[in-house]
């Protein structure tokens, strides 16, 4: 059996890649994809610990998160399409309406 550290490392790597993607990428589609990475990092974490402790609850949570990620992606893309129709852009730094 593989030690849990490997899983955690992979999870951490995915989290960091996702986080950096969210912060640095201008294209919102890619930001959404980065968020998926973060969620998947969480999934790996949950599944790994589920296996480690022999508790199935972690895997059930992972399933929830997969469903949630699908919902989040569809809502996010819907917002993007609506936004694109209005502003003809998908670049994050041009979405500055919340500014003071």
């Amino acid at each position: 059996m593989m030690p849990i550290g490997h899983y955690l490392f992979l999870s951490l790597a995915l989290l960091l890649i996702g986080a950096i993607g969210v912060v640095t990428r201008r294209n919102v589609i890619i930001v959404l994809m980065s968020i998926e990475l973060i969620l998947n990092a969480v999934n790996i974490n949950l599944v790994a610990f589920s296996r480690y402790y022999g508790d199935v609850a972690g895997q059930i949570f992972a399933l929830f998160i997969i469903a949630d990620a699908a919902a989040e992606a569809s809502v996010g893309l819907g917002i993007m399409i609506a936004f694109f129709r209005n502003r003809e852009t998908v670049l994050a730094d041009e979405m500055d309406l919340l500014k003071w």
Partner: protein
């Protein structure tokens, strides 16, 4: 009077007919044909005349003392409490009509002469523009004049008084495109306003003294519920108080103030100057308004207020003297005039002076008698003059007339009758009325010496009247024709509608004097007896106006004097203008100064211009300067400037202090929030970055927990 009958009960219709005629003319007259205008306007006046005649005849059937009919249509000035010499009274101004012998005479003269002149105007105005307007004004005039003579109180009389003044103004200025006509209208209006000032003051004094302006309560009821001046006056004098005694200053003041009004309306010295200029109006207007009716309103008013005048001997003397002076003064001016209408205008002034002379010596009935006869022959003279002018296509200068006697016989014959009447040749009407005035003046002299001068002036005026009238007659109708040759062919007799009224007036110019015929054999004149109830005044213990006893021989001597005066004038005019036409020119050349003064009417207009008109203009200029410089300049413009200065200050304060404070309130939090605001980029990547930073700090702080957690997991 139990049942007054149709004519008396419908007294109010008499002024109403012309008013309706005028209303129709003013509202729809523009669209009516001349025939329709004739129907409405002449018809309304004829209806008026018929009603007036009916009412007078019904009234005449009563006994002399019951010949008063009074009706109140409605309270015009509504009752209000007013202090007066008889205590607090409920003052009321009626719209009411009074028919008594005095107004009988006036209403008949006005409607009858008015009717004839309306008929005459159909022919005279046939070729003139503004036909309906002319007749509308004429009808409006008749309404006002009838209101004036039928009014049962002084206030309503004043309404008519101003109404006729307005119509006079409108009709003098009928040809308003002509500057002289417009100016003459204004002059008449303004001069009359001066007189009216006196009238209004007199009116107020009467109201304040008697607490009523109604002439009499007779014909209405008891004098307590319907107070009248006559009854109140009788009550006041009966109390024997000094302030209401014979000759009391208050009566003198009243009489004189009202007389000021009369001098304006009836063209007496010093306010006569408007009447000659009024000849700018169409000739029928001169005949109706400026000869027969309106200008006699002053005479009527004084006769109407005779009760007050009889208590004011000083005012009576003033009236007589002004009348006599006006009579002779205007007669001398008439001598040198060359405009046919101007001669008649000065003659009118002179004859009005005669009437005031009669009133002033206390012969009120004689004054009214002369008013009536004068209305006939002077209207005839004016209409005849109008007919001459019409025949000569507008020529008014008697130096360019002559020899018209047989060319226009239907005009010249009545004109001669009128001339004989005004000159006082018996048995025409002017002889009787003038002789009565002179007789009364002389009879007053026999009681009081100072009236001799008045009589003498009257006699000289009679001679002058005869002279200038025959001069006019000879110049116009006799002698060589001086009409320019190119005009000769155009001379035409006036139409029937113009000459028929002339003949009717000529008839009355002859016979109207015969109402005083019994005076010839020493009896009282029936006309005087008829008027007596209206002119009785009030009973007082002292100061009745007394005339010397009738004495037939003396009367005949007086008649002889006045007839010889008239004949002397006739003879002189015949010599100078008919038998030796060159002579008058030589006389004028012999006394150039005198002639110049007469031609220029004693320079009275020039003197008035210099003394009053131009001074008034100077005053207006000064006031204008004051208005422009002080009121507008300092006051209005200064206030504007000051407001602007203050608003500048106010604006500065608003902008920098008030608004500044408001802006500061906004700016200050803005300034404070500057560092916080920096984090709000609006770009979600930044927020995500901050979240990560926060997460990292959180994890860094709680790191040892994580470590211990990890250790426990191992």
């Amino acid at each position: 009077m139990n049942s007054p009958g149709y004519f008396l009960a419908h007294l109010w219709l008499i002024p109403l007919f012309p008013l309706l005629g005028a209303a129709v003319m003013f509202f729809v007259g523009r669209h009516l044909s001349k025939e329709a205008v004739n129907l409405f306007c002449v018809g309304s006046v004829s209806l008026s005349f018929v009603h007036a005649l009916g009412a007078v005849l019904v009234l005449f059937a009563h006994s002399p003392d019951a010949r008063v009919y009074q009706q109140i249509l409605f309270p015009w000035v509504t009752p209000g409490a007013m202090p007066s010499s008889v205590g607090m009274v409920n003052f009321v101004g009626d719209w009411g009509y009074l028919l008594d012998p005095l107004s009988c005479v006036m209403v008949l003269v006005v409607t009858f002469v008015g009717f004839l002149i309306h008929v005459y105007s159909i022919g005279y105005m046939a070729h003139e523009g503004g036909y309906y307007r002319f007749f509308g004004y004429l009808n409006l005039f008749l309404f006002s004049m009838l209101t004036l003579v039928l009014a049962n109180n002084l206030l309503l009389l004043f309404v008519g008084w101003e109404g006729v003044g307005l119509c006079s103004y409108l009709l003098i200025g009928f040809y308003f495109l002509k500057k002289s006509a417009a100016d003459a209208g204004k002059k008449a209006f303004i001069v009359n306003r001066i007189g009216d000032t006196g009238f209004i003051l007199g009116l107020m004094l009467v109201a304040a003294t008697f607490g009523t302006v109604r002439f009499t309560s007779q014909g209405l009821g008891d004098s307590a519920s319907f107070p009248g001046i006559l009854q109140t006056l009788a009550g006041l004098t009966a109390q024997h108080q000094a302030q209401f005694a014979y000759g009391a200053p208050i009566f003198t003041a009243m009489a004189l103030l009202l007389f000021v009004g009369a001098t304006g309306k009836s063209a007496q010295i010093p306010l006569y100057v408007w009447l000659p200029d009024a000849m700018e109006g169409p000739t029928p207007v001169s005949a109706l308004i400026h000869a027969a009716t309106m200008v006699t309103a002053g005479v009527y008013m004084v006769a109407r207020m005779n009760a007050i005048y009889q208590l004011a001997p000083i005012a009576m003397d003033v009236v007589a003297i002004i009348g006599a002076l006006t009579a002779i003064f205007a007669a001398t001016m008439a001598v040198a005039q060359t405009d046919i209408k101007k001669v008649l205008a000065y003659s009118t002034i002179s004859q009005l002076g005669y009437m005031f002379l009669a009133l002033g010596v206390g012969a009120f009935a004689s004054g009214i008698f002369h008013l009536m006869t004068h209305a006939f022959f002077k209207a005839l003279l004016f209409l005849g003059a109008g007919s001459v002018i019409h025949s000569l296509s507008g020529e008014q200068d008697i130096r360019k007339m002559g020899g018209l006697w047989n060319t226009i016989p239907a005009t010249s014959r009545p004109f001669r009758i009128a001339t004989l009447a005004i000159a006082g040749i018996p048995p025409l009407s002017g002889f009787f009325s003038k002789d009565e005035i002179l007789g009364h003046a002389f009879n007053r002299h026999l009681m009081m010496d100072r009236y001799l001068g008045l009589w003498a002036v009257g006699l000289v005026t009679a001679a002058l009247t005869s002279f200038y009238m025959f001069r006019l007659l000879y110049e116009t109708f006799f002698g060589m024709s001086r009409i320019p040759v190119e005009m000769e062919g155009h001379i035409h007799e006036s139409p029937k509608s113009m000459t028929t009224p002339l003949w009717i007036l000529a008839f009355f110019s002859i016979v109207s004097g015969w109402l005083a015929l019994p005076a010839l054999w020493g009896e009282e004149s029936p006309f005087e007896r008829f008027l007596e109830p209206s002119l009785r005044g009030v009973e007082t213990d002292t100061g009745r106006i007394v005339f010397a006893q009738h004495d037939l021989l003396k009367e005949y001597l007086l008649m002889g004097a006045s007839v010889s005066a008239a004949l002397a004038g006739l003879w002189l005019a015949r010599k100078l203008y008919l038998e030796n036409p060159k002579l008058h020119g030589q006389i004028a050349a012999a006394w150039p100064r005198l002639h110049r003064v007469l031609v220029h009417k004693y320079f009275v207009d020039e003197i008035y211009d210099a003394l009053f008109v131009n001074r008034t203009k100077d005053l207006s200029t000064a006031f204008g300067w004051f208005d422009g410089q002080i009121i507008d300049g300092l006051g209005v413009d200064g206030a504007g400037w000051l407001t602007r200065v203050f608003s500048r200050i106010s604006m500065w304060w608003d902008k920098w202090i008030v608004d500044g404070l408001v802006n500061f309130v906004g700016w200050f939090p803005n300034f404070l929030s500057m560092p916080v605001r920096m984090f709000q980029t609006g770009i979600f990547s930044t927020y995500a970055f901050f979240i990560l930073i926060g997460l990292a700090i959180l994890l860094g702080y709680y790191g040892h927990h994580v470590q211990s957690l990890a250790r426990s997991l191992r």
